[in-house]
Amino acid sequence: MLKKLNETLRQTHLRLLSLEQLQQQVDAALKAEEVDDDALDALIAEVLRRLAGKTDPNDRSELQALAIRLVEQKLTRDIGLEERVDLENLAKRLEPRLHFHRQIVKCMCSVPD
């Protein structure tokens, strides 16, 4: 007999996922009708954590692709645009307003401080 009594720590849960499982989580989060901001932030944090560490070069491009999709969603929601943000274009146009965004842009586009 096994009966689940609670949900686990999201931060740990994401760390324990394989890249494939993480991609599935990202797909699910981005397809969800009601976007969970906390879930989105946690996924971004996890993808950035993996990118900042020792990562297999093959995984790196996959992770960057995930990060772009997540960050586009995040910025679209934060800025309140109706259409999805084009990150590359946005990075050129926007002075990052928040530390969080600055970290993201630094990580993705190698923008100097």
């Binding site: 007999m1 009594l5 609670n6 686990t8 720590l9 740990t12």
Partner: protein, 475 residues
């Protein structure tokens, strides 16, 4: 290849043949039968990978998804935990600070076990015991608060002592509360309740919104241990004042200091709750905390002197239906276990025991900043000063604020590490003279008792409404 995680915890339930399986870094809680528990426990003792045929695929997948089975070796898991602990500690350091203001070290009681007594005696000899925070020092305290809390959400501020609400210090307390209110803070107070009648008009949800009053059980035990300086009893006056304060509609929590004798006389305490009709107030609650020695004692010495464990305390509370609805055991462990059952593992798993290792600042009447309310007056533990000028003792500040399970090797090997956070820093100092020694106490048995306690409530759908957020800040 799959291993049983070294951070898997087995809690046998008292009823039936069931166990709660808990996990030390995912926060998972699962109910399992004794057969599966036995199987997993046998593997946990071997430390060997599980044979693939040992469990059916669905069970294997489930256990892996919850963290109990892992592809990591034990050594890799320890590294995983260290990394996770460092990240969580870093984020805790950016959380809004908790501030304590001590109007004075003075107190009208002479409790038998007071950990501040040596500090008070030294202060009396140097003529500083009756010192009350001056307006200049109060201003400096709020300048420091503004600096440390810039841009952050405002937590409440706790009034602490000595006794913060002495009748003769009313002007000082009023000035502190007023300055705090102007900045949008509400106050908590850890008061003995003796002079509370002099502060009734300051008790409201936008001034002093929550008070914690310690009692030593009912009058029989309380009046032996918590006597005034003149030797007279204090229980009746305190309870009358608690009633008056409850009429002000604020949060009141009794902290019941538990010793063997207090637990023996628990019936009397339950009678007191009824006699004073305290249970009818929705903002009333209480918690029991096992009294601990402020000097190093062996376990045998502690038992001989009537000290009890937090596990014993929770066991006793569970025997009283009247208490189960309003009382808990040690709040830190209680809150963490409760958070696990409520699927808020982010509030349950922490690499530090309490804010003393991240963001507690205690301002004393002499201008010193302490990291923990238990070390006030011990100037060698101060982490800085806020008056006459603001300055940190960077070495001491780092020593306190860097203490986490990530840098205590014994903790990294412990399955309870993120649930206990390495134990109380003050008690590590008292028992080992080393802040970086783990303080395990009876955490394993205490955790098991809390899990059983909350499991019973969980299945009954009675998770309780207390303590509320404000009360949880008051530990």
């Amino acid at each position: 290849m799959r291993y049983l995680s070294r951070y898997t915890i087995f809690v046998p339930l008292t009823r039936g043949q069931e166990y709660i399986l808990a996990h030390g870094y995912t926060g998972a809680l699962d109910l399992i039968d004794a057969d599966l528990a036995g199987q997993l426990q046998r593997w946990s003792e071997t430390g060997q990978p599980l044979p693939l045929s040992a469990l059916d695929p669905d069970t294997t997948a489930y256990l892996e998804g919850r963290g109990y089975l892992t592809a990591m070796t034990h050594a890799e898991e320890m590294e995983f935990l260290r990394d996770l602990a460092q990240d969580i500690h870093q984020s805790l350091k950016t959380a809004p600070p908790h501030f304590y203001i001590m109007p004075t070290y003075d107190c009208q009681l002479r409790c038998a076990y007071c950990f501040e007594r040596s500090v008070q005696i030294a202060a009396q000899r140097s003529g500083g015991l009756s010192r009350v925070m001056s307006p200049e020092v109060i201003n400096a305290a709020f300048d420091a608060i503004d600096l440390l809390n810039a841009g952050k959400r405002k937590n409440s501020i706790e009034l602490y002592g000595g006794e913060p609400l002495l009748r003769e210090n009313r002007d000082c307390v009023e000035a502190i509360v007023e300055r705090g209110r102007q900045r949008g803070y509400v106050f908590l107070a850890a008061t003995n309740g003796v002079d509370l009648d002099a502060y009734l008009d300051l008790l409201s949800l936008d001034q002093i919104a929550c008070i914690q009053v310690p009692v030593d059980g009912g009058p029989t035990t309380h009046d032996q241990l918590r006597r005034r300086a003149d030797g007279s009893a204090s229980f009746t006056q305190i309870m009358q004042n608690v009633r008056r304060a409850l009429e002000r509609n604020i949060h009141i929590r009794l902290r019941v200091n538990a010793t063997q004798e207090v637990l023996w006389h628990l019936d009397e305490f339950v009678d007191v709750l009824k006699e004073y009709d305290l249970l009818k107030y929705p903002r009333f609650s209480c918690y029991f905390k096992a009294v601990f020695p402020s000097t190093r004692l062996t376990r045998q010495q502690q038992v001989a002197r009537g000290y009890v464990s937090d596990a014993q305390v929770v066991q006793r509370i569970a025997e009283y239906p009247e208490l189960v609805s309003v009382a808990t055991g040690y709040p830190i462990t209680n809150s963490r276990v409760k958070a696990l059952f409520e699927s808020h593992a982010e509030n349950a798993l922490s690499p530090i025991h309490c804010g003393a290792a991240s963001n507690i600042y205690v301002f004393d009447p002499f201008g010193a900043i302490y990291p923990c309310n238990n070390v006030v007056g011990h100037s060698e533990q101060a982490i800085g000063r806020f008056w006459p000028r603001f300055e940190w003792d960077e070495q001491m500040r780092a020593k306190w604020h860097q203490r986490s399970i990530a840098n205590i090797p014994k903790c990294l090997q412990c399955k309870y590490a993120l649930l206990c956070g390495g134990g109380c820093l003050y008690r590590a100092l008292v028992d080992n003279e080393d802040l970086y020694a783990p303080h395990c106490d009876d955490f394993a048995s205490s955790f098991a008792e809390f899990v059983r306690f909350h499991f019973e409530r969980h299945i009954e759908g009675n998770t309780g409404q207390f303590p509320n957020e404000l009360e949880e800040e008051l530990v």
